[in-house]
């Protein structure tokens, strides 16, 4: 957690369940550490998001998970803008799990879909403005003056007539008792002092001296360490096992069977891993022991051959227009499964007190399902489960699941002790919820003038939502399977996008930018093919088809201008371009590459233009764009997940490679001035355009199309 200069940990006080109708937290509970409380004055609770200590420290409760995307800084910025507090006296705490922190986008507390800034934009600025007005009222009452004669600035309330002033810390206790106003007015763009500024990240100091605590860093009194042996084949289970040898391993305390497999519990992680190596298990591999990447893609192909699927988009009559087109372009593209490979492997620390309550210390993206999972296993109601959200060592969608929470809770319940379950890298890579592998067949038609008249796409893949929440699937449709294609922005009169949900045994999950991570690649590479068939420049071709789509056009034009598109490039260098909208943020990227004699690709430079409405912290936005480029290049040029005999072939960073520093291009980021539009997110949308930009550059260099991720040089040789 972020530093608390006065040693006061607010989370220990905050009663998680009791929240008043006004949104104010009206109760406290005080487990342990009362001596600490006695020595320290408790901060005043202004509302669910803002506490002010007598020492003028403003604590912002961050209800979103910090996984690198910067919410621990950008959300406090929204508060600070309206609160008029001293930025140097601001700090953050991760909020407990409670209904007041539910995100309207999900109907629960969670972080994903690049929604944090968008969802928090109004509520957090209002929370700041409301607290400010309460502090002003408290000062006015103290001085016996009218509140309209006072104003707030830099952590103080000032009486304009007498020049008297009082710090927020001195006013907070009285202010917290004042009825919150319901009609606060928020600032106009021209008045912003914090929003739009590249404020330093609040979480960096503790991330450069080893003090930041991630899930895996939790240490509780009496805590045991556990690892779990899971069936390597998806859908398989334990038939029988013999723990005799495992129990003889030094440090091993016990071996317990849980839903996901066999847990080995020990004094430390290594002894648990050694114990696991000594386990003897007979598996029932189940019905999927023959599944392979080839068999799965063969199923996709068969499905596309035989079934029309769900009509995800239908404009005009694409089939007729294709039949009468002067030129017809067809291509088949495919994307592999991808593992999230967060640097912090999955883990959870649970203290289950059966029938009484539970505590979770966990790097989770979704607090509410984690809380529910622990409650079910502990046999208590969710409000009896305290969720202590830690820093996340990467999330990328993986930590929206509760599988690792279930494991820790089951083992803690069996051991009647706090237990930390830690996954090895191999566990993490081989028991992920993977970005869906996907197969798509495109057709496009040009008229005699080279103008596109028809576009059709037929997509086959498994469905994320069918794994996450099967009840959400209607008529075999999952929007996340087609996003990036069904929302094609180009002005083409006849469009048909169909989707075949092909269920399989491989768990599917949200992977940074979700459907757009593969569909953005498919669409932007295929459109490049159409541009080439029309004998048009790929930038100009897109530009001409985006005349009715201002935001896509805006970023496309901006990136072309900044990269100097169309101007001479250094000898041996080639460029490609792509534009994709994801989660209502628009990103266009230009990649500059070279190829060596063995057709290895080197990406030298990337220009990225983004339109996410009002930028909140441009420095963090730049970080996220660079991060998205790196994540995207890893899928485009490096590793993939393949399946053989029903299990994942890869296990670690030797077989599933990711981008390293020596492969990092220089990335320049350009943010449009779009303050008239409320902000959207930047955690994910920079991922989709990079692979098509690079592959389109490969075409510019070689005249050959790459239609399958990841790129392998031998395919061009």
């Amino acid at each position: 957690m972020s530093a608390i200069k006065n040693g006061l940990d607010r989370r220990k006080f905050l009663k998680t369940g009791v929240v008043g109708a006004t949104g104010l937290i009206v109760g406290f509970y005080l487990p342990g550490k009362r001596e600490l409380l006695a020595a320290e004055a408790a901060p005043a609770v202004m509302n669910a998001f803002i506490h002010v200590s007598p020492e003028d420290v403003v604590t912002v409760l961050v209800s979103k998970s910090e996984m690198g995307q910067g919410v621990a800084t950008s959300l406090p910025m929204l508060v600070a803008e309206e609160l008029e507090c001293d930025w140097r006296r601001i700090r953050f705490e991760f909020a407990p799990a409670a209904r007041v922190y539910f995100d309207p986008a999900f109907g629960m507390q969670g972080t994903g879909g690049s929604t944090s800034i968008h969802s928090s934009w109004e509520p957090l600025r209002k929370a700041g403005a409301t607290a400010r007005e309460m502090l002003i009222s408290a000062a006015a009452q103290k001085w016996g003056v009218d509140a309209s004669e006072c104003r707030a600035e830099n952590g103080k309330v000032v009486h304009m007539g007498s020049k008297r002033s009082a710090t927020y810390g001195s006013l907070a206790e009285a202010a917290s008792a004042i009825q919150p106003p319901t009609d606060v007015k928020l600032k106009e763009y021209a008045e912003y002092k914090v929003i739009g500024k590249p404020m330093k990240r609040l979480d960096v100091p503790e991330k450069v001296n080893g003090r930041a605590k991630f899930g895996i860093d939790q240490r509780r009194p009496g805590m045991l360490h556990a690892v779990v042996l899971r069936c390597p084949v998806f859908g398989g289970k334990v038939a029988s096992f013999d723990a005799t040898k495992a129990k003889q391993v030094r440090g091993v305390k016990d071996v317990v069977q849980i839903s996901d497999g066999i847990a080995v519990v020990a004094d430390n992680t290594w002894d648990a891993m050694e114990g696991r190596r000594a386990l003897e298990v007979n598996w029932d591999f189940g019905p999927s022991a023959d599944a392979s990447t080839d068999s799965i893609f063969a199923n996709f192909g068969k499905s596309l051959d035989s079934e029309q699927g769900y009509a995800a988009k239908k404009t005009g009559d694409a089939a007729s227009a294709l039949n009468s087109a002067a030129t017809k372009i067809e291509a088949e593209y495919r994307a592999p499964y991808e593992s999230h490979a967060c640097m912090e492997p999955m883990n959870c620390t649970a203290d289950i007190r059966e029938g009484e309550g539970a505590d979770l210390w966990v790097a989770t993206q979704f607090q509410t399902p984690s809380q529910a999972a622990a409650a079910k296993i502990a046999g208590v109601s969710p409000d009896k489960v305290n969720v202590h959200t830690t820093f996340l060592g990467g999330g990328f969608g993986r930590r929206g699941w509760s599988d690792f929470v279930n494991e820790a809770c089951e083992v803690s319940k069996a051991m009647k002790a706090p237990v930390q379950v830690t996954w090895s890298r191999e566990d993490d890579m081989q028991h992920d919820y993977y970005r869906p592998a996907s197969l798509v067949r495109f057709s496009a038609g040009l008229d005699a003038d080279g103008k596109p008249v028809a576009f059709s796409a037929h997509i086959a893949c498994d469905s994320i939502m069918n794994w996450f929440y099967p009840g959400s699937i209607r008529n075999g449709f999952d929007d996340s399977s087609v996003e990036g294609i069904a929302d094609i922005p180009y002005d083409i009169p006849n469009i048909a996008v169909n989707y075949n949900l092909v269920s399989g045994p491989i768990p599917q999950g949200f992977w940074r930018s979700v459907g757009a991570s593969q569909n953005g690649f498919f669409r932007e590479c295929f459109i490049d093919e159409v541009a080439a068939a029309a004998k048009k420049d790929p930038y100009e071709f897109r530009r001409d088809l985006l005349q009715n789509n201002a935001r896509n056009l805006g970023v496309l034009n901006l990136v072309a201008e900044k990269a100097g598109w169309g101007k001479p490039v250094p000898a041996g260098r080639y460029r490609g371009i792509a534009v994709v909208e994801a989660f209502n943020t628009y990103v266009a990227e230009v990649a500059e590459i070279s190829l060596d004699k063995d057709k290895n690709v080197k990406v030298h430079r990337v220009w990225a233009a983004v339109d996410l409405g009002q930028p909140v912290n441009p420095a963090i936005i730049e970080q996220q764009v660079r991060g998205g480029v790196v994540y995207g290049l890893s899928q485009g040029l490096k590793g993939e997940i393949t399946i053989d005999k029903g299990r994942v072939v890869q296990g670690n960073f030797d077989t599933m490679e990711v981008l390293r520093m020596n492969e990092m291009p220089h990335v320049e980021v350009f943010i449009t001035d779009s303050h008239l539009t409320p902000p959207t997110g930047m955690g994910e949308p920079a991922v989709p355009p990079i692979t098509p930009a690079v592959y389109n550059a490969i075409f510019a260099a070689t005249g050959k199309r790459v239609r399958k991720m990841p790129y392998r040089p031998e395919e061009l040789a």
């Binding site: 940990d9 605590k213 895996i216 670690n652 390293r660």
Partner: protein, 174 residues
């Protein structure tokens, strides 16, 4: 059989499986959690520490081989952010999720100790063993150059550190 060594100058003696990697001794026996587990195969660099001044991957270093040696972890670089690498990391705002950063910093410190003014190519070579999934590579490179300049200047820069909240600079509360 106790194994003796020092961590950040402090004498330690542990009685564990002699094959246990140094990483787990540091994290689970000594409860110093700044050093991270990432891969267990010396592929990602998250576990990087120094032994007698050299950067090593603690996840594959058996504790038996550390007998009598001096280990430096991220906690030993400087608790108050005074090391030029930490100062540069703060000024550039390098970390995102931060999980790999202990290892990145330990590799960068070792690089600067050996090569006080590295070129881009030298930085890339020295740092290629440290994976960052958030993609902070460009900022790391910038920060290493900045730290090299600070090292060279051998004096304290003021500058952007003034913007960092006081509470945060005081260190972690837990």
């Amino acid at each position: 059989m106790a194994i003796r060594f020092t961590v950040n100058g402090k004498a330690q003696s542990v009685d564990v499986n002699p094959n246990m990697p140094l990483l787990w001794v540091i994290r689970d026996t000594l409860n110093m959690t700044g050093t991270k587990f990432g891969c267990g195969m010396a592929l990602c660099g998250a576990c990087t520490v120094h032994i007698n001044g050299a950067a090593i991957r603690s996840c594959i270093t058996p504790i038996s081989s550390v007998e009598g040696k001096h280990v430096t972890t991220i906690e030993g670089i400087s608790p108050d952010h005074s090391h030029p690498i930490q100062r540069a990391w703060l000024e550039v705002d390098v970390p995102q999720c931060g999980y790999c950063q202990s290892g990145q910093i330990m590799s960068a410190v070792a690089l600067l100790n050996k090569t006080p003014n590295p070129t881009d190519a030298q930085i890339e070579e020295a740092m290629a063993g440290n994976i960052c999934r958030c993609g902070t590579y460009q900022q790391i490179k910038e920060a290493i150059h900045k730290a090299a300049r600070m090292h060279g200047a051998a004096k304290t820069e003021t500058s952007e550190l003034d913007q960092i909240p006081q509470g945060a600079l005081a260190g972690g509360a837990e």
